[in-house]
Every structure is written in C-alpha cells, then in structure tokens.
Symmetry: C2
Amino acid sequence: MTDHQATYQRLCDQFQEATMLGTIQQLLEWDERTKMPPAGGAYRADQAAYLAGIIHQQKTAPVVDEWLQELAESPLAADPHSDTGTVIRQLRRDYDKKTKLPKSLVEELTRTAVEGQQVWSEARAADDFAKFQPILEKTVELKRQEAAALGFDITPYDPLLDDYEPGESTANVARVLGELRDALVPLVEAIADSSQRPDVSIVSREFPIEVQKTFGAQVVAAIGFDLEAGRIDETDHPFMVGLGPGDVRLTTRFDEHNFCDGLFSTMHEAGHGIYDQGLPREFYGLPTGEDVSMAIHESQSRMWENQVGRSHAFWEHFYGRAQKAFPGALADVEMRDFYGAINDVRPSLIRVDADEVTYNLHVLIRFELEQALIENDLQVADLPAAWNEKYRDCLGIDPPNDADGVLQDVHWSAGLFGYFPTYALGNLYSAQFFAQAAEDLGDLDAQFRRGEFAPLREWLRANIHTHGRRYSAAELVERVTSKPLSHKPLIDHLTQKYGEIYGL
Amino acid sequence: MTDHQATYQRLCDQFQEATMLGTIQQLLEWDERTKMPPAGGAYRADQAAYLAGIIHQQKTAPVVDEWLQELAESPLAADPHSDTGTVIRQLRRDYDKKTKLPKSLVEELTRTAVEGQQVWSEARAADDFAKFQPILEKTVELKRQEAAALGFDITPYDPLLDDYEPGESTANVARVLGELRDALVPLVEAIADSSQRPDVSIVSREFPIEVQKTFGAQVVAAIGFDLEAGRIDETDHPFMVGLGPGDVRLTTRFDEHNFCDGLFSTMHEAGHGIYDQGLPREFYGLPTGEDVSMAIHESQSRMWENQVGRSHAFWEHFYGRAQKAFPGALADVEMRDFYGAINDVRPSLIRVDADEVTYNLHVLIRFELEQALIENDLQVADLPAAWNEKYRDCLGIDPPNDADGVLQDVHWSAGLFGYFPTYALGNLYSAQFFAQAAEDLGDLDAQFRRGEFAPLREWLRANIHTHGRRYSAAELVERVTSKPLSHKPLIDHLTQKYGEIYGL
C-alpha cells in the first residue's frame, strides 16, 4: 500500500465509524418516533445530543483536513468521479461547510430551532402569528448570518439551498420553477373549470386499518422494497430511515376513512426505501454509497407514489385485489370511478393534503417567500399578507386564518430554509427520469398491468442508485436523460393524464 | 467546590456518559431481538462492537484509577454507604475487576463464547455432545484462567460467582443451597406421591393471543409497572431492559395453547421492570442508582411471578376477569381447578418449563456440576454421565438424550459460569423478603384479593429499590429482614402452599 492509500484508508475508516454512530443516532430517532414510551423523552434527548457531539468531533477533526490536503494532491483524486476521487472531493466539500460556521452560531441556531418549533406549535394552536413573529425574525437573522459565514456570490439563499441540493443555484431553481408555475396555473384553472368531477367520497368509506396494513405491505413488496432488509411501522409524520445496509425502515400512518393517505404515504416512503436499498453497499458510510440530494431522493419517492401508484396501469393490476381486500368499500365501485377518486385535483389550503398537480404551487409559494425573507426583500411582519396574496394569485384560495395559512408548516420554525424547493424539484426529476425510463424500457404501462415492477426498479438502480453521490443532481439528470432539468416532462405527464381524466 | 468534589464530579460525569452509551447499546440489542429485519444483523454486530469498545475505554481509562486513588483518601469516601462512599467504593471494585484481565484473554473469551454458542446450537440440534465437548473444554480452561487472573483464596469459582453476586462466596452459596436441597427433595417426593392431581389440560386450551396481550398488560399495569415509562413487546426469549430513566422495556412471548407461559413470563419480566423503575433516578448511571446483583433482581421478578401471580388471593381478584377475557377456555372452569392447574408440580426434564418447586433442583444440579468443572473435579468428557446421575438422584428423571439433558441450556456455551445459582438464590431472597413484607404490611392476601398491590410495591421500593447498589445482597437481606439468607422462608412458603393443594 502506498502512503496515499494508507491515508485514504484512515479517512474512510474515520467516516465509516462516524456513519456507524450516525446510524445508531437514527435508530434512537426511529425508536423515539415509533416505539419509545412518553417518559423516555428527556433521556433520549441527552443520548442523541451526546452522540451528535462525538460524530461532529469525528467529522471535523483537524486531522481530516490534513488527510484531505494530502490526498487532494495525490493520484487518488485525479479523476473527480472515480471511487476515490468522489470520496475525497465530497468529504472536502462537507468538511469545509461543517468547519466554516463558528461554534457559537451553530449552538445559537440549534437552540433557536428547538425554541422556534415550540413557539410555532403554540402559535399555530392559538392561530396567533404575532406570537411566532419574534422568534421567526431571529431565525431569519441567524440564517442570514449562517449564509454570510458560508459565503456566497449572488444571493444568501444560495449557501442555504446548497445544504439540501449540493451545487444547485437559486437562479437555476427560480428559472425552472418559474417555468413550471407558468405552465401549471392554466392547467389548474382548466381542471377547476371542467364539468367532470370524480366522486371522492369513495376513498373516505370504511377501510379497516389492519387490512390497509396488509394491503400496503403487499404493494410495497410487489414494487420491490425488500422486507427481509427492512420493516414498516406506524408514526404521526411518515418518514424513511436507513439504519444500516440491510436495515431500511419505512414509517407510515393509517386512517380508517382515508384510503389514499395510508397507501400513498406507504408507497412514497417505500420509494425512498428502494433508493436506500439500491445504494452500493460496498461503499456504505462513504459519499460513493450515499444519496445525491434531497430532490433526487424525493424523485424516487414521488415516482413510486405518483407515476406508478396513481397510474391507471398500476390499478389495472391491483384494483381486483383491492376490491377483494376491501369488499365493504369497493365491491360496488367501478375501476374508472376509483381511478378518478384517487386522482382528484382541486386547489386547497394545506400543502401536505394537496394533489399531484396543485402540490407544486404550494411549494413555489414557499420558495418565493423564503427567498425574499433571506434576501431581506420581505419582512417577517409582512409575511402573512404576502402568503395570503400568493394563495389567491396562484391557487385562487383565500386562507381563512394563519393557522391553516402561513403557520401550517413546521419548516421555518426549525430553521429549514432552502428545503421547500426540493419537493418540487423532486417532482421534476421524477417526471424526467420516468420519461427516460419509458423510452429505454418500452411500454411501462403494459409491464405495470402485468404486475411487473422489476424492470423500472432495476433501471433506477443502474442509472441512479448505483452512482451514490458521484454526480450532482444536475450532472446526473444530464447523464441519464441527456438534457438539463426541465419543467416539460412533468407538465407533459400532468397534461396528458389529467386531460384524459377531466376531458380537457 | 473542593478539589475532591470537582474530581468526584468528573468521575460521575465519565460514568454517566458511559451509561448513556450503555443504554444506547441496550437499545441496539432490544431492537435486534424484537424489531430488526433479518438482513440487519451483520451491521448491527459491528455497531454494538464499536460502542462496546468506546464504553470499555471510558470505564478503564487510567485517569479513572487516578481519580479513585485521590478520592479513596478523601472525606467523600469516609462512610462506605453514603452516596459518595458507595460510588467510590463500587467503581473501584468494578475498575479493578475490569483491568485485571489481560486484553488477550478478554478477546479469547469473547471469541470462544461466540463460537461456543454456535457449536452448542448445532450440537444440540444433532443431539451430539461429542461435537460440543472440545469447545466446552476450551471454555472451562479459559474460565479457570480468568479466575486465576482475578485472584481467589479458596476456589476459582469464587471470582466467577462474584461477577453476578458481588461479594458472595461459593461456600455460603453451597451451604444455603445444600440446605434447600435437603428440604426440597422430600417435598417433591411427597407431592409426587399425592393422589391429588390437577387437570393441567385447562391451561392448554385455546387462549387467543391478542386477548392474552391485553390481559397481560392489564395485570402488569395493576401490579404497578408504569406503561407511560415502559412498554411490552414480543420476542423468543423474554427479557427486561432499561433504556433510560423513564424507559424500561419488557419482552415476552405468547402461545395460544399455553396460558401460563405467556402470563407468568410477562409478570416475571414486569417484576424486573418494577425494580428498574424503582431505582433512584437522581443517581442514574452511578452505583447508587443500580441494581444490587442478579439474585436480587431475580428476587423481584420471582416475587411478582410466584408469590403474587401464582397465589390464591391474586386469582380471587383476577379470575372473574380472566373468565370474561377467555370465555371459551375458562367459562366452565372452577377457580379451584384453575388454581390447581397453574400450580401443577411434577419433576420434569427441562429447567425453563419447571414449576416453582422443582425449578430449584434443576438449578442446584447445574451449580454443583459447574463448580466441579471449574475446580477440575469433573472432566468435561464425564459431564453427560454426571448430569444424568444427578437428574435421577434429585428429580427421579432419566434424561432420554443429551439434547434435552446436558445440552438444554445456552449458559455454559457462552462462558456464563457462576450465573445459574443466582436463579435459586433469587427464589430464596424473594421468599425471605416476602415473608418480611407480610409481617410489616399485615394481611397481604386480603390486599391482593381487593386488587391492591401498591403497598407491597411501595414496601419493595422503600426497603430494596431505593438503596441502589449501596449494600451487597447479603447486607441488604440482613438489613431488611434482620436475618442472614436462609432456605427456610422458601421452604415454609412451598410447604404450606403445596401442602394445601396436594393435601399433604
């Protein structure tokens, strides 16, 4: 082994050890959100904070800087997309981001996020934005300080966005989401004007929860989430978490009178889980074995949830099974009516309940508002009015109060600025990848009709999962589809699908 | 703060941090045994080993030795049973034990235990003691080396026993268990000769598992296990684990055709859990907040399982509820017959299935055999014959094969020598404490009949739990009952109870 190889090995060992502690931390959180008894909370917070401290030390130790400096000059870094080049380049990037922030600022951000979520929760319950305003002002100010410490050329929103979409620029996101909005708003209006309206009461009938669980697990297994290397539990706010190679956990929730929420939450998280299970195990704990970005992760969950799970072909395979599982609710329902009910589109107040089409407008509104807050073009005091105006303009909705308006999401209270756009970017990547998969694999609908999901899943493995964090999201989409990210594939998909459903 | 106080604080911080990691390790194990998907095993083992390494470093750091040396001379150590004196004395004890063993021996013991369990499992499945013999010989030899490294005056079994019963001596255990045997054997014979035999088929009827779960949780809550600060899950081999103050988890198992196994396993683990929940929280992670020994822990589980759960008074309160919960199995069964069925006594082959009376003889046999192995008075090659002879002598049972004879328990394969006697000691402590509680609290039966378990529980809190590891087991029993440990209270309890049932 050369000296460089020995250094490289030490670097990998250190980060794979940090990942080992990181996955343990994830288990603490999974357990907290699914199993832990109420009185266990205080000690659990201590445990998590203690582990976080050790992990931070491991990742930001000065010796890491020395190793990375040595390796940057070595042949191992020559090809930035090789196994070793990827690791060296991405760990350098992470190290610089982690060490640029003064400790006092990190602590202040953490403290404010904890307090912010608490205040937000009370303010939301009381429908009282004024109560939330001071801590949100403080949060915005701290995020601006964070951006300044991280450095930027064009806008302070850039380094914040970069936390979730490494290498992405605000300008590019604004361009592509702007184009998306311009195409979406008329589509939403056309659907709203359509005289064809599905009977959505079908999916609010009685769907026994135990049966929903069994049915959900069957669907998830059919699309290729490996339950020998994962499991499904219930929680309040569904999430997916990887606890190790061979241990990927989905969480979901069920409501006896909401068939869609349970099934599509489960499929969504399974999409995240299939990505995690598809990452190369030999690189577990290194950038070559990690996901690309939030938007790429979301592209995987959205694809299985929407492009697959809400497609006509999928239900041509599964609807008979659903009728057998839920005879009380579905025996007398035609497939055509069921398909309409699960694809109901209508402008609504709450992001998390929104349909596949209008969802993106909710995200756009938040992206524009948070960008303005961070760039100091909008004051926190003026946020509720700005929010309401955008909901009227984009969705034709008048929020009846702040609780279900500007206070509906937790993100800002937790200091998560730059996160929202990844939801819409995920939908765009999803549609663009899916269109390419259809081109490469032939008639996907015919495959879904036969219950064959392995070709799509293997295509995603080979084209996306297997690369880990070797390419940025922008590089990856170019590599896979030979085009930069565009709003067109999503608009094409939505226009065609909902054109048929609503007779446009 | 004096210098000594500052040192003491550092010592406490270090051990409370080690406990924080220790409880995280416990969560890893709980999860592995109750939730983890099969493919997660390999990485989980890596995570656990990595944490174990960090914890070992924290507990055996040379600075700990320095702190303890300084504190031993300080006023903080003057009273060995004060808060600070207990911590200093017990941490010194633990430190010396942990640092006396050479690293190579510890590693060899660990490796051999892992291999031993694997070989044992195969040998048991094949009913082939010869296959197990070589690794058991190696294990015994390593345990003898361990005893030599730890040091002893009288027998190498002493330092091994001390791992589970700190401060206890082989001679004393041999004395008290010998007296127990001498009194038990005639009792077992008298019961076997009785013409009164309960109809045990009652408790093998159909008891739906979901109802068993609900009923078990109700019982556990009634006796005072706090489910807001704990939970119950299913596993293969039931256990209890404390994951933090406010998070104590029981695991149990259910068999549709074995009412006793499910309920009494649950009550047994709840007894352990009530002890854990009763330890003083302000000392969490320090000896003053820890349990005394394996036998004292077992005394708590056995008390709730046997003295309470198998008592007539307990069922005077619960039997009507059980009949309502399991009408199919119990509606036509008289309380008297049910009580007989759950208290069936008969010599049997398998320790873990044994009743309250004969159980102790199974343990005695193992204690005598493992002592002889460690003292080199018995060769591993001669173990099966010695085993079978003792089963004939003590229980009148002829083991039909080694799989259900000498190979039935995992303990020796895992290097656990000195562990078995704690099961019987636990029964003795349990009976002696219970007799004292009855003396202090008046008519316990009348309380149980009214469903009142709080007085007993609070008595255990005040007399046992609250002291943490301030007193040794021997000191504690003297303190609480004003007598040294004796076989008499258990024999009195068994003679009276089974005399009535079997008309002796």
